[in-house]
Amino acid sequence: MLSYIVRRLGGALVVLFGISVVTFILAYAVPSDPARMIAGPKASMATVLAIRHQLGLDRPLYVQYGAYIWRLLHLNLGMSYVYNLPVTTLIGQRFLPTATLALSAWIAELVIGIPLGIYTARRARKLSDYIVSILALIGISLLIPWLGIVLLYWLGFKIPIFPLGGAGGISHLILPALTYGITGAAAYTRLLKSSMLEVLKQDYVRTARAKGATESRVINRHVLRNALIPVITYGGIDIGYLLGGVVLLEVTFNWNGLGILAYNAISESDIPVIMGTVLLTALLVVLFNLLVDIVYVFVDPRIRYG
Protein backbone atom coordinates (compact mmCIF):
# COMPACT_ATOMS: atom_id res chain seq x y z
CA MET A 1 0.00 0.00 0.00
CA LEU A 2 2.77 2.40 0.88
CA SER A 3 4.43 1.52 -2.38
CA TYR A 4 1.19 2.29 -4.20
CA ILE A 5 1.00 5.72 -2.59
CA VAL A 6 4.62 6.46 -3.39
CA ARG A 7 4.05 5.39 -6.99
CA ARG A 8 0.97 7.56 -7.17
CA LEU A 9 2.99 10.53 -5.86
CA GLY A 10 5.61 9.87 -8.48
CA GLY A 11 2.92 9.87 -11.16
CA ALA A 12 1.61 13.20 -9.87
CA LEU A 13 5.10 14.70 -10.04
CA VAL A 14 5.42 13.60 -13.65
CA VAL A 15 2.07 15.22 -14.42
CA LEU A 16 3.18 18.43 -12.71
CA PHE A 17 6.23 18.42 -14.94
CA GLY A 18 3.93 17.91 -17.93
CA ILE A 19 1.78 20.83 -16.86
CA SER A 20 4.81 23.08 -16.59
CA VAL A 21 5.94 22.06 -20.06
CA VAL A 22 2.52 22.68 -21.59
CA THR A 23 2.10 26.10 -19.98
CA PHE A 24 5.64 27.04 -20.93
CA ILE A 25 5.07 26.07 -24.55
CA LEU A 26 1.81 28.00 -24.67
CA ALA A 27 3.24 31.13 -23.16
CA TYR A 28 6.73 31.18 -24.69
CA ALA A 29 7.05 28.87 -27.65
CA VAL A 30 3.77 29.21 -29.57
CA PRO A 31 3.55 33.01 -29.92
CA SER A 32 5.96 34.42 -32.49
CA ASP A 33 6.85 37.29 -30.18
CA PRO A 34 6.17 36.18 -26.61
CA ALA A 35 7.43 39.46 -25.21
CA ARG A 36 4.84 41.37 -27.21
CA MET A 37 2.24 38.79 -26.15
CA ILE A 38 3.20 39.07 -22.51
CA ALA A 39 3.40 42.82 -22.54
CA GLY A 40 0.05 43.15 -24.23
CA PRO A 41 -0.99 44.97 -27.38
CA LYS A 42 -0.83 48.43 -25.88
CA ALA A 43 2.66 48.24 -24.43
CA SER A 44 5.39 50.46 -25.75
CA MET A 45 8.34 49.05 -27.65
CA ALA A 46 10.57 49.85 -24.69
CA THR A 47 8.45 47.67 -22.43
CA VAL A 48 8.58 44.84 -24.95
CA LEU A 49 12.35 45.08 -25.18
CA ALA A 50 12.64 45.17 -21.40
CA ILE A 51 10.51 42.05 -21.07
CA ARG A 52 12.43 40.31 -23.81
CA HIS A 53 15.64 40.94 -21.95
CA GLN A 54 14.22 40.18 -18.53
CA LEU A 55 12.85 36.78 -19.67
CA GLY A 56 15.95 36.00 -21.66
CA LEU A 57 13.90 35.30 -24.77
CA ASP A 58 17.05 35.49 -26.87
CA ARG A 59 18.40 32.37 -25.16
CA PRO A 60 17.72 28.76 -26.25
CA LEU A 61 14.30 27.35 -25.31
CA TYR A 62 15.60 24.87 -22.75
CA VAL A 63 17.42 27.64 -20.90
CA GLN A 64 14.23 29.65 -20.94
CA TYR A 65 12.35 26.65 -19.64
CA GLY A 66 14.85 26.26 -16.81
CA ALA A 67 14.39 29.92 -15.93
CA TYR A 68 10.62 29.44 -16.08
CA ILE A 69 10.74 26.53 -13.63
CA TRP A 70 13.06 28.53 -11.40
CA ARG A 71 10.54 31.36 -11.30
CA LEU A 72 7.68 28.95 -10.63
CA LEU A 73 9.56 27.39 -7.74
CA HIS A 74 9.89 30.86 -6.27
CA LEU A 75 6.14 31.32 -6.73
CA ASN A 76 6.88 33.96 -9.30
CA LEU A 77 4.19 33.90 -11.98
CA GLY A 78 5.31 37.16 -13.53
CA MET A 79 3.75 40.60 -13.58
CA SER A 80 0.35 41.46 -14.93
CA TYR A 81 0.68 44.05 -17.64
CA VAL A 82 -2.78 45.46 -16.99
CA TYR A 83 -2.66 45.76 -13.23
CA ASN A 84 1.09 46.10 -12.94
CA LEU A 85 1.00 43.76 -9.97
CA PRO A 86 2.51 40.31 -9.44
CA VAL A 87 0.16 37.62 -10.76
CA THR A 88 0.39 35.80 -7.44
CA THR A 89 -0.97 38.85 -5.67
CA LEU A 90 -3.89 39.10 -8.08
CA ILE A 91 -4.65 35.42 -7.75
CA GLY A 92 -4.34 35.64 -3.98
CA GLN A 93 -6.98 38.36 -3.89
CA ARG A 94 -9.45 36.37 -5.95
CA PHE A 95 -8.84 32.92 -4.61
CA LEU A 96 -11.22 33.05 -1.68
CA PRO A 97 -14.26 34.36 -3.62
CA THR A 98 -13.75 31.67 -6.26
CA ALA A 99 -13.25 28.94 -3.69
CA THR A 100 -16.45 30.04 -1.93
CA LEU A 101 -18.38 29.97 -5.18
CA ALA A 102 -16.92 26.62 -6.21
CA LEU A 103 -17.74 25.05 -2.87
CA SER A 104 -21.34 26.32 -3.00
CA ALA A 105 -21.69 25.04 -6.56
CA TRP A 106 -20.36 21.67 -5.49
CA ILE A 107 -22.74 21.44 -2.55
CA ALA A 108 -25.63 22.31 -4.85
CA GLU A 109 -24.64 19.49 -7.20
CA LEU A 110 -24.64 17.03 -4.33
CA VAL A 111 -27.88 18.31 -2.81
CA ILE A 112 -29.67 17.94 -6.13
CA GLY A 113 -27.85 14.95 -7.57
CA ILE A 114 -27.70 12.49 -4.69
CA PRO A 115 -31.40 12.41 -3.70
CA LEU A 116 -32.32 12.06 -7.36
CA GLY A 117 -29.84 9.20 -7.68
CA ILE A 118 -31.41 7.36 -4.75
CA TYR A 119 -34.87 8.06 -6.10
CA THR A 120 -34.18 6.80 -9.61
CA ALA A 121 -32.39 3.71 -8.33
CA ARG A 122 -35.36 2.76 -6.16
CA ARG A 123 -37.81 3.36 -8.97
CA ALA A 124 -35.60 1.93 -11.71
CA ARG A 125 -37.41 1.30 -14.99
CA LYS A 126 -40.56 2.99 -13.77
CA LEU A 127 -42.03 6.05 -15.46
CA SER A 128 -40.82 8.39 -12.73
CA ASP A 129 -37.27 7.10 -13.25
CA TYR A 130 -37.45 8.00 -16.92
CA ILE A 131 -38.87 11.45 -16.21
CA VAL A 132 -36.23 12.31 -13.62
CA SER A 133 -33.46 10.92 -15.80
CA ILE A 134 -34.56 13.05 -18.73
CA LEU A 135 -34.84 16.12 -16.54
CA ALA A 136 -31.31 15.49 -15.35
CA LEU A 137 -30.19 15.12 -18.95
CA ILE A 138 -31.84 18.42 -19.80
CA GLY A 139 -29.87 19.88 -16.91
CA ILE A 140 -26.48 18.92 -18.36
CA SER A 141 -27.58 20.14 -21.78
CA LEU A 142 -28.03 23.72 -20.58
CA LEU A 143 -25.48 26.46 -21.17
CA ILE A 144 -24.55 27.88 -17.77
CA PRO A 145 -24.84 31.58 -18.71
CA TRP A 146 -28.17 30.99 -20.36
CA LEU A 147 -29.69 29.16 -17.41
CA GLY A 148 -28.12 31.73 -15.09
CA ILE A 149 -29.70 34.65 -16.91
CA VAL A 150 -33.07 32.90 -17.07
CA LEU A 151 -32.94 32.34 -13.31
CA LEU A 152 -31.81 35.93 -12.79
CA TYR A 153 -34.67 37.15 -14.96
CA TRP A 154 -37.33 35.27 -13.04
CA LEU A 155 -35.96 35.14 -9.51
CA GLY A 156 -34.02 38.39 -9.50
CA PHE A 157 -35.87 40.70 -11.86
CA LYS A 158 -39.51 39.60 -12.28
CA ILE A 159 -39.88 38.29 -8.75
CA PRO A 160 -37.03 40.02 -6.94
CA ILE A 161 -36.08 37.41 -4.36
CA PHE A 162 -32.37 37.26 -5.06
CA PRO A 163 -29.85 39.98 -5.89
CA LEU A 164 -28.98 40.55 -9.54
CA GLY A 165 -25.43 39.29 -9.30
CA GLY A 166 -22.32 40.61 -7.63
CA ALA A 167 -20.71 39.45 -4.42
CA GLY A 168 -22.17 39.59 -0.96
CA GLY A 169 -23.80 37.26 1.52
CA ILE A 170 -25.40 33.88 1.15
CA SER A 171 -28.22 35.31 -0.93
CA HIS A 172 -25.71 36.19 -3.65
CA LEU A 173 -24.51 32.60 -3.71
CA ILE A 174 -27.84 30.88 -4.12
CA LEU A 175 -28.61 31.56 -7.77
CA PRO A 176 -25.09 30.78 -9.06
CA ALA A 177 -24.97 27.62 -6.98
CA LEU A 178 -28.41 26.57 -8.17
CA THR A 179 -27.37 27.17 -11.78
CA TYR A 180 -24.29 25.03 -11.42
CA GLY A 181 -26.17 22.41 -9.43
CA ILE A 182 -28.76 21.99 -12.16
CA THR A 183 -26.14 21.60 -14.87
CA GLY A 184 -23.87 19.31 -12.87
CA ALA A 185 -26.22 17.13 -10.86
CA ALA A 186 -26.92 14.61 -13.61
CA ALA A 187 -23.43 13.11 -13.35
CA TYR A 188 -24.00 12.32 -9.66
CA THR A 189 -27.52 11.05 -10.28
CA ARG A 190 -26.39 8.65 -12.96
CA LEU A 191 -23.35 7.44 -11.07
CA LEU A 192 -25.21 6.84 -7.82
CA LYS A 193 -28.08 5.13 -9.61
CA SER A 194 -25.89 2.63 -11.42
CA SER A 195 -23.72 1.94 -8.42
CA MET A 196 -26.80 1.44 -6.22
CA LEU A 197 -28.32 -0.96 -8.73
CA GLU A 198 -25.02 -2.82 -8.72
CA VAL A 199 -24.93 -3.04 -4.93
CA LEU A 200 -28.59 -4.03 -4.70
CA LYS A 201 -27.70 -7.19 -6.60
CA GLN A 202 -25.05 -8.24 -4.09
CA ASP A 203 -25.54 -11.13 -1.74
CA TYR A 204 -25.35 -9.26 1.52
CA VAL A 205 -28.26 -7.08 0.45
CA ARG A 206 -30.34 -10.15 -0.23
CA THR A 207 -29.33 -11.53 3.13
CA ALA A 208 -30.38 -8.35 4.87
CA ARG A 209 -33.72 -8.43 3.06
CA ALA A 210 -34.20 -12.07 3.86
CA LYS A 211 -33.61 -11.28 7.51
CA GLY A 212 -36.62 -9.02 7.31
CA ALA A 213 -34.96 -5.61 7.35
CA THR A 214 -37.26 -2.88 6.08
CA GLU A 215 -36.56 -1.53 2.63
CA SER A 216 -35.47 1.90 3.81
CA ARG A 217 -33.22 0.31 6.38
CA VAL A 218 -31.65 -1.83 3.70
CA ILE A 219 -31.10 1.22 1.55
CA ASN A 220 -29.69 3.38 4.32
CA ARG A 221 -27.64 0.82 6.15
CA HIS A 222 -26.26 -1.41 3.48
CA VAL A 223 -26.70 -0.06 0.01
CA LEU A 224 -25.93 3.59 0.34
CA ARG A 225 -22.78 3.09 2.34
CA ASN A 226 -21.26 0.98 -0.41
CA ALA A 227 -22.81 2.71 -3.37
CA LEU A 228 -21.47 6.09 -2.29
CA ILE A 229 -17.82 5.08 -2.72
CA PRO A 230 -17.64 5.82 -6.46
CA VAL A 231 -19.69 8.97 -5.89
CA ILE A 232 -17.16 10.21 -3.35
CA THR A 233 -14.37 9.49 -5.79
CA TYR A 234 -16.09 11.40 -8.53
CA GLY A 235 -16.96 14.22 -6.14
CA GLY A 236 -13.34 14.66 -5.15
CA ILE A 237 -12.19 14.85 -8.73
CA ASP A 238 -15.10 17.13 -9.62
CA ILE A 239 -14.23 19.70 -6.96
CA GLY A 240 -10.68 19.77 -8.28
CA TYR A 241 -12.00 20.89 -11.65
CA LEU A 242 -14.48 23.33 -10.18
CA LEU A 243 -12.06 26.18 -9.52
CA GLY A 244 -11.40 26.36 -13.22
CA GLY A 245 -14.94 25.38 -14.07
CA VAL A 246 -16.75 28.35 -12.61
CA VAL A 247 -15.49 30.86 -15.20
CA LEU A 248 -18.86 31.09 -16.94
CA LEU A 249 -20.64 31.26 -13.61
CA GLU A 250 -18.51 34.18 -12.46
CA VAL A 251 -18.95 36.08 -15.68
CA THR A 252 -22.71 35.51 -15.69
CA PHE A 253 -23.23 36.57 -12.09
CA ASN A 254 -20.50 39.16 -12.08
CA TRP A 255 -18.73 37.34 -9.26
CA ASN A 256 -15.33 38.88 -8.96
CA GLY A 257 -13.09 35.81 -8.75
CA LEU A 258 -10.37 34.03 -10.70
CA GLY A 259 -12.69 33.44 -13.63
CA ILE A 260 -13.40 37.13 -14.11
CA LEU A 261 -9.71 37.82 -13.65
CA ALA A 262 -8.90 35.43 -16.50
CA TYR A 263 -11.81 36.69 -18.58
CA ASN A 264 -10.70 40.30 -18.31
CA ALA A 265 -7.12 39.29 -18.99
CA ILE A 266 -8.17 37.85 -22.34
CA SER A 267 -9.32 41.06 -23.93
CA GLU A 268 -6.04 42.65 -22.83
CA SER A 269 -3.95 39.62 -23.83
CA ASP A 270 -2.58 39.63 -20.30
CA ILE A 271 -0.83 36.29 -20.80
CA PRO A 272 0.88 36.01 -17.38
CA VAL A 273 -2.49 36.30 -15.66
CA ILE A 274 -4.18 33.78 -17.97
CA MET A 275 -1.37 31.26 -17.66
CA GLY A 276 -1.20 31.83 -13.91
CA THR A 277 -4.84 30.88 -13.44
CA VAL A 278 -4.51 27.92 -15.81
CA LEU A 279 -1.46 26.71 -13.89
CA LEU A 280 -3.13 27.10 -10.50
CA THR A 281 -6.33 25.30 -11.48
CA ALA A 282 -4.36 22.43 -13.05
CA LEU A 283 -2.32 22.10 -9.85
CA LEU A 284 -5.51 21.84 -7.85
CA VAL A 285 -6.89 19.16 -10.16
CA VAL A 286 -3.72 17.10 -9.69
CA LEU A 287 -3.87 17.64 -5.94
CA PHE A 288 -7.48 16.56 -5.59
CA ASN A 289 -6.96 13.53 -7.84
CA LEU A 290 -4.05 12.50 -5.66
CA LEU A 291 -6.06 12.98 -2.47
CA VAL A 292 -8.94 10.94 -3.84
CA ASP A 293 -6.66 8.09 -4.84
CA ILE A 294 -4.99 8.03 -1.46
CA VAL A 295 -8.25 8.23 0.47
CA TYR A 296 -9.58 5.46 -1.73
CA VAL A 297 -6.90 3.10 -0.50
CA PHE A 298 -8.26 3.46 3.00
CA VAL A 299 -11.94 3.49 2.10
CA ASP A 300 -12.24 0.63 -0.34
CA PRO A 301 -11.20 -2.71 1.10
CA ARG A 302 -11.90 -4.57 -2.14
CA ILE A 303 -8.83 -3.34 -3.94
CA ARG A 304 -5.38 -4.51 -3.05
CA TYR A 305 -2.42 -2.55 -4.18
CA GLY A 306 0.65 -4.55 -5.05
Binding site: G11, V15, G18, I140, Y241, V278
Partner: protein, 303 residues
Protein backbone atom coordinates in the same frame (compact mmCIF):
# COMPACT_ATOMS: atom_id res chain seq x y z
CA UNK B 1 -20.60 -39.41 -46.16
CA UNK B 2 -20.75 -36.57 -48.62
CA UNK B 3 -19.83 -33.12 -47.56
CA UNK B 4 -23.40 -31.94 -47.93
CA UNK B 5 -24.65 -34.66 -45.64
CA UNK B 6 -21.91 -33.97 -43.18
CA UNK B 7 -22.81 -30.34 -42.86
CA UNK B 8 -26.46 -31.26 -42.59
CA UNK B 9 -25.60 -33.62 -39.79
CA UNK B 10 -23.68 -30.94 -37.96
CA UNK B 11 -26.74 -28.79 -38.34
CA UNK B 12 -27.17 -25.30 -39.66
CA UNK B 13 -27.02 -22.35 -37.38
CA UNK B 14 -29.51 -23.01 -34.63
CA UNK B 15 -32.80 -21.13 -34.70
CA UNK B 16 -32.26 -18.93 -31.69
CA UNK B 17 -28.96 -17.76 -33.12
CA UNK B 18 -30.32 -17.03 -36.53
CA UNK B 19 -31.18 -13.42 -35.79
CA UNK B 20 -28.57 -11.12 -37.14
CA UNK B 21 -26.65 -8.70 -35.00
CA UNK B 22 -28.57 -5.84 -36.62
CA UNK B 23 -31.93 -7.30 -35.66
CA UNK B 24 -30.78 -7.70 -32.06
CA UNK B 25 -29.62 -4.09 -32.07
CA UNK B 26 -32.97 -2.79 -33.26
CA UNK B 27 -34.76 -4.94 -30.75
CA UNK B 28 -32.79 -3.25 -27.96
CA UNK B 29 -33.43 0.16 -29.47
CA UNK B 30 -37.13 -0.39 -28.91
CA UNK B 31 -36.41 -0.82 -25.22
CA UNK B 32 -34.80 2.62 -25.11
CA UNK B 33 -37.14 4.87 -27.08
CA UNK B 34 -35.32 8.07 -26.15
CA UNK B 35 -32.67 7.11 -28.69
CA UNK B 36 -35.27 7.82 -31.38
CA UNK B 37 -35.95 11.26 -29.96
CA UNK B 38 -32.23 12.00 -29.81
CA UNK B 39 -31.68 10.68 -33.30
CA UNK B 40 -34.56 12.73 -34.65
CA UNK B 41 -33.24 15.94 -33.09
CA UNK B 42 -29.77 15.31 -34.48
CA UNK B 43 -31.24 14.56 -37.90
CA UNK B 44 -33.26 17.80 -37.92
CA UNK B 45 -30.18 19.69 -36.82
CA UNK B 46 -28.16 18.35 -39.71
CA UNK B 47 -31.01 19.27 -42.09
CA UNK B 48 -30.98 22.80 -40.67
CA UNK B 49 -27.26 23.19 -41.15
CA UNK B 50 -27.15 21.71 -44.64
CA UNK B 51 -30.20 23.53 -45.98
CA UNK B 52 -29.69 26.77 -44.09
CA UNK B 53 -29.91 28.96 -47.22
CA UNK B 54 -33.24 27.35 -48.09
CA UNK B 55 -34.70 27.41 -44.61
CA UNK B 56 -33.62 30.93 -43.69
CA UNK B 57 -36.05 33.73 -44.53
CA UNK B 58 -33.50 36.51 -44.73
CA UNK B 59 -29.82 37.07 -45.00
CA UNK B 60 -28.50 36.44 -41.48
CA UNK B 61 -26.14 39.40 -41.44
CA UNK B 62 -28.27 42.00 -43.15
CA UNK B 63 -29.39 44.75 -40.78
CA UNK B 64 -33.02 45.59 -41.58
CA UNK B 65 -34.35 49.06 -40.84
CA UNK B 66 -37.79 47.67 -40.05
CA UNK B 67 -36.11 45.43 -37.47
CA UNK B 68 -35.73 48.35 -35.10
CA UNK B 69 -38.32 50.58 -33.47
CA UNK B 70 -38.02 54.33 -33.75
CA UNK B 71 -36.21 54.43 -30.38
CA UNK B 72 -33.66 51.90 -31.65
CA UNK B 73 -34.94 48.90 -29.69
CA UNK B 74 -35.40 45.65 -31.64
CA UNK B 75 -38.88 44.60 -32.79
CA UNK B 76 -40.40 41.46 -31.33
CA UNK B 77 -41.63 38.37 -33.16
CA UNK B 78 -43.78 39.23 -36.19
CA UNK B 79 -44.67 37.79 -39.58
CA UNK B 80 -41.55 39.26 -41.14
CA UNK B 81 -39.30 38.32 -38.19
CA UNK B 82 -40.77 35.06 -36.76
CA UNK B 83 -38.40 35.14 -33.78
CA UNK B 84 -38.00 38.91 -33.68
CA UNK B 85 -35.05 41.05 -34.69
CA UNK B 86 -31.80 41.66 -32.83
CA UNK B 87 -30.30 44.88 -31.54
CA UNK B 88 -29.07 45.94 -34.99
CA UNK B 89 -32.17 44.77 -36.85
CA UNK B 90 -31.07 41.33 -38.08
CA UNK B 91 -33.53 38.45 -38.31
CA UNK B 92 -33.11 36.20 -35.25
CA UNK B 93 -34.76 33.23 -36.96
CA UNK B 94 -32.38 33.26 -39.92
CA UNK B 95 -29.38 33.77 -37.65
CA UNK B 96 -30.56 30.82 -35.61
CA UNK B 97 -30.72 28.60 -38.68
CA UNK B 98 -27.24 29.62 -39.80
CA UNK B 99 -25.94 29.33 -36.25
CA UNK B 100 -26.60 25.60 -36.34
CA UNK B 101 -23.72 25.35 -38.80
CA UNK B 102 -21.17 26.61 -36.30
CA UNK B 103 -22.45 24.32 -33.58
CA UNK B 104 -22.42 21.26 -35.80
CA UNK B 105 -19.07 21.99 -37.37
CA UNK B 106 -17.47 22.47 -33.97
CA UNK B 107 -19.33 19.48 -32.58
CA UNK B 108 -18.26 17.15 -35.36
CA UNK B 109 -14.83 18.40 -36.38
CA UNK B 110 -13.49 18.98 -32.87
CA UNK B 111 -14.78 15.57 -31.84
CA UNK B 112 -13.16 14.02 -34.89
CA UNK B 113 -9.83 15.57 -33.94
CA UNK B 114 -10.08 14.28 -30.36
CA UNK B 115 -11.22 10.92 -31.60
CA UNK B 116 -8.29 10.56 -33.96
CA UNK B 117 -5.72 11.45 -31.30
CA UNK B 118 -7.42 9.66 -28.42
CA UNK B 119 -8.17 6.44 -30.26
CA UNK B 120 -4.69 6.16 -31.74
CA UNK B 121 -2.93 6.82 -28.45
CA UNK B 122 -5.34 4.57 -26.55
CA UNK B 123 -4.80 1.72 -29.00
CA UNK B 124 -1.02 2.04 -28.84
CA UNK B 125 -0.98 2.43 -25.08
CA UNK B 126 -3.21 -0.55 -24.42
CA UNK B 127 -1.69 -2.87 -27.00
CA UNK B 128 1.99 -2.34 -26.30
CA UNK B 129 1.78 -1.74 -22.55
CA UNK B 130 4.98 -1.27 -20.58
CA UNK B 131 6.99 1.91 -20.91
CA UNK B 132 5.06 3.30 -23.90
CA UNK B 133 1.85 2.84 -21.95
CA UNK B 134 3.22 4.68 -18.93
CA UNK B 135 4.41 7.60 -21.02
CA UNK B 136 1.15 7.96 -22.93
CA UNK B 137 -0.94 7.68 -19.79
CA UNK B 138 1.08 10.38 -18.02
CA UNK B 139 0.59 12.66 -21.02
CA UNK B 140 -3.12 11.89 -20.86
CA UNK B 141 -3.19 12.72 -17.15
CA UNK B 142 -1.49 16.01 -17.94
CA UNK B 143 -4.06 16.98 -20.56
CA UNK B 144 -6.88 15.94 -18.23
CA UNK B 145 -5.49 18.13 -15.45
CA UNK B 146 -6.43 21.32 -17.27
CA UNK B 147 -9.99 22.50 -16.71
CA UNK B 148 -11.47 22.30 -20.18
CA UNK B 149 -13.09 25.67 -20.67
CA UNK B 150 -10.41 27.74 -18.99
CA UNK B 151 -7.68 26.02 -20.95
CA UNK B 152 -9.58 26.36 -24.21
CA UNK B 153 -9.99 30.03 -23.37
CA UNK B 154 -6.25 30.44 -22.87
CA UNK B 155 -5.46 28.50 -26.02
CA UNK B 156 -7.82 30.47 -28.23
CA UNK B 157 -6.51 33.71 -26.77
CA UNK B 158 -2.97 32.76 -27.66
CA UNK B 159 -3.83 31.34 -31.09
CA UNK B 160 -6.32 34.11 -31.89
CA UNK B 161 -10.12 34.05 -32.06
CA UNK B 162 -11.43 32.19 -35.07
CA UNK B 163 -13.58 29.19 -35.82
CA UNK B 164 -10.53 27.18 -36.88
CA UNK B 165 -8.70 27.92 -33.66
CA UNK B 166 -11.73 27.05 -31.58
CA UNK B 167 -11.89 23.71 -33.40
CA UNK B 168 -8.21 23.07 -32.81
CA UNK B 169 -8.34 24.08 -29.15
CA UNK B 170 -11.37 21.95 -28.32
CA UNK B 171 -10.09 19.09 -30.44
CA UNK B 172 -6.65 18.84 -28.87
CA UNK B 173 -8.00 19.21 -25.34
CA UNK B 174 -10.73 16.62 -25.63
CA UNK B 175 -8.83 13.44 -26.38
CA UNK B 176 -7.83 12.54 -22.82
CA UNK B 177 -10.98 10.72 -21.84
CA UNK B 178 -11.11 8.92 -25.18
CA UNK B 179 -7.55 7.68 -24.84
CA UNK B 180 -8.30 6.30 -21.39
CA UNK B 181 -11.47 4.53 -22.41
CA UNK B 182 -9.97 3.08 -25.58
CA UNK B 183 -6.93 1.85 -23.66
CA UNK B 184 -9.14 0.04 -21.17
CA UNK B 185 -11.08 -1.61 -23.96
CA UNK B 186 -7.93 -2.67 -25.77
CA UNK B 187 -6.57 -4.24 -22.60
CA UNK B 188 -9.51 -6.59 -22.44
CA UNK B 189 -9.89 -7.26 -26.16
CA UNK B 190 -6.24 -7.95 -26.91
CA UNK B 191 -6.30 -11.08 -24.78
CA UNK B 192 -8.99 -12.64 -26.96
CA UNK B 193 -7.77 -15.55 -29.00
CA UNK B 194 -8.86 -14.04 -32.29
CA UNK B 195 -6.25 -11.34 -31.77
CA UNK B 196 -3.64 -14.03 -31.08
CA UNK B 197 -4.85 -15.88 -34.17
CA UNK B 198 -4.33 -12.77 -36.29
CA UNK B 199 -0.79 -12.50 -34.95
CA UNK B 200 -0.15 -16.16 -35.63
CA UNK B 201 -1.30 -15.59 -39.20
CA UNK B 202 1.28 -12.86 -39.63
CA UNK B 203 -0.94 -9.79 -39.46
CA UNK B 204 1.07 -6.59 -39.07
CA UNK B 205 0.68 -4.51 -35.93
CA UNK B 206 -1.26 -1.71 -37.68
CA UNK B 207 -3.62 -4.30 -39.13
CA UNK B 208 -4.18 -5.83 -35.69
CA UNK B 209 -4.73 -2.43 -34.10
CA UNK B 210 -7.00 -0.87 -36.69
CA UNK B 211 -8.67 -3.79 -38.43
CA UNK B 212 -8.90 -6.44 -35.74
CA UNK B 213 -9.14 -4.61 -32.41
CA UNK B 214 -10.69 -1.28 -33.40
CA UNK B 215 -13.91 -2.65 -34.94
CA UNK B 216 -14.46 -4.64 -31.78
CA UNK B 217 -14.33 -1.61 -29.50
CA UNK B 218 -16.29 0.71 -31.76
CA UNK B 219 -19.40 0.61 -29.57
CA UNK B 220 -17.96 2.44 -26.56
CA UNK B 221 -16.08 4.78 -28.88
CA UNK B 222 -19.28 5.80 -30.66
CA UNK B 223 -21.01 6.43 -27.35
CA UNK B 224 -18.10 8.52 -26.15
CA UNK B 225 -17.95 10.46 -29.40
CA UNK B 226 -21.66 11.23 -29.36
CA UNK B 227 -21.45 12.57 -25.82
CA UNK B 228 -18.31 14.51 -26.79
CA UNK B 229 -20.20 16.22 -29.60
CA UNK B 230 -22.74 17.55 -27.12
CA UNK B 231 -20.01 18.67 -24.76
CA UNK B 232 -18.09 20.40 -27.55
CA UNK B 233 -21.17 22.26 -28.78
CA UNK B 234 -21.61 23.58 -25.24
CA UNK B 235 -17.95 24.57 -24.93
CA UNK B 236 -18.10 26.41 -28.25
CA UNK B 237 -21.17 28.28 -27.07
CA UNK B 238 -19.40 29.07 -23.82
CA UNK B 239 -16.35 30.38 -25.66
CA UNK B 240 -18.52 32.44 -28.01
CA UNK B 241 -20.35 33.77 -24.99
CA UNK B 242 -17.04 34.88 -23.56
CA UNK B 243 -16.25 36.56 -26.86
CA UNK B 244 -13.41 34.32 -28.01
CA UNK B 245 -15.28 32.07 -30.39
CA UNK B 246 -16.76 32.78 -33.77
CA UNK B 247 -16.58 36.50 -34.34
CA UNK B 248 -19.67 38.62 -35.15
CA UNK B 249 -21.39 39.23 -37.48
CA UNK B 250 -21.19 35.48 -38.23
CA UNK B 251 -23.99 34.03 -36.15
CA UNK B 252 -23.36 31.35 -33.55
CA UNK B 253 -25.78 30.47 -30.81
CA UNK B 254 -23.19 31.39 -28.21
CA UNK B 255 -22.56 34.90 -29.49
CA UNK B 256 -26.31 35.39 -30.07
CA UNK B 257 -26.98 34.56 -26.44
CA UNK B 258 -24.20 36.90 -25.40
CA UNK B 259 -25.64 39.71 -27.51
CA UNK B 260 -29.05 39.04 -26.00
CA UNK B 261 -27.89 39.18 -22.40
CA UNK B 262 -27.68 42.97 -22.30
CA UNK B 263 -31.27 43.31 -23.44
CA UNK B 264 -32.86 40.38 -21.69
CA UNK B 265 -35.14 42.58 -19.62
CA UNK B 266 -37.00 44.13 -22.55
CA UNK B 267 -36.20 41.85 -25.51
CA UNK B 268 -36.11 38.35 -24.01
CA UNK B 269 -36.51 36.65 -27.43
CA UNK B 270 -32.94 37.61 -28.22
CA UNK B 271 -31.60 35.01 -25.84
CA UNK B 272 -34.55 32.68 -25.40
CA UNK B 273 -34.56 31.28 -28.94
CA UNK B 274 -30.83 30.59 -29.32
CA UNK B 275 -30.79 29.18 -25.79
CA UNK B 276 -33.59 26.77 -26.59
CA UNK B 277 -31.97 25.80 -29.90
CA UNK B 278 -28.73 25.09 -28.07
CA UNK B 279 -30.55 23.09 -25.41
CA UNK B 280 -32.30 20.97 -28.02
CA UNK B 281 -29.15 20.31 -30.00
CA UNK B 282 -27.10 19.32 -26.95
CA UNK B 283 -29.96 17.30 -25.52
CA UNK B 284 -30.33 15.48 -28.84
CA UNK B 285 -26.74 14.26 -28.77
CA UNK B 286 -26.97 13.46 -25.07
CA UNK B 287 -30.10 11.37 -25.55
CA UNK B 288 -28.50 9.58 -28.47
CA UNK B 289 -25.25 8.88 -26.64
CA UNK B 290 -26.93 7.89 -23.41
CA UNK B 291 -29.35 5.60 -25.20
CA UNK B 292 -26.59 3.95 -27.21
CA UNK B 293 -24.69 3.38 -23.99
CA UNK B 294 -27.69 1.62 -22.48
CA UNK B 295 -28.23 -0.44 -25.60
CA UNK B 296 -24.60 -1.50 -25.82
CA UNK B 297 -24.36 -2.26 -22.09
CA UNK B 298 -24.08 -6.05 -21.93
CA UNK B 299 -26.17 -6.02 -18.77
CA UNK B 300 -29.10 -4.80 -20.87
CA UNK B 301 -28.48 -7.23 -23.70
CA UNK B 302 -31.51 -8.74 -25.39
CA UNK B 303 -31.10 -12.43 -26.02
Amino acid sequence: MSVQNASAAIGGASKSQKKSRGALFWKSVRKFPMVYVGGLIVFLLVICAVFAPVLALHNPITQYQNGLHMDGTPVGPSKFFPFGADDVGRDVYSRLIYGSRVSLIVGFVATAISLLIGTTLGLISGYFGGFIDTVIMRITDTILAFPFLLFALALVTILGSSLTNVLIAIGILGWGVMARVVRGQVLSVKEFEYVQAARALGASTPRILFRVILPNILGPIIVLATLAVSQNILVEAGLSFLGVGVQPPTPSWGNMIYAGVQDYQFAPWLMVYPGVALLLAVLGFNLLGDGLRDILDPRNATH
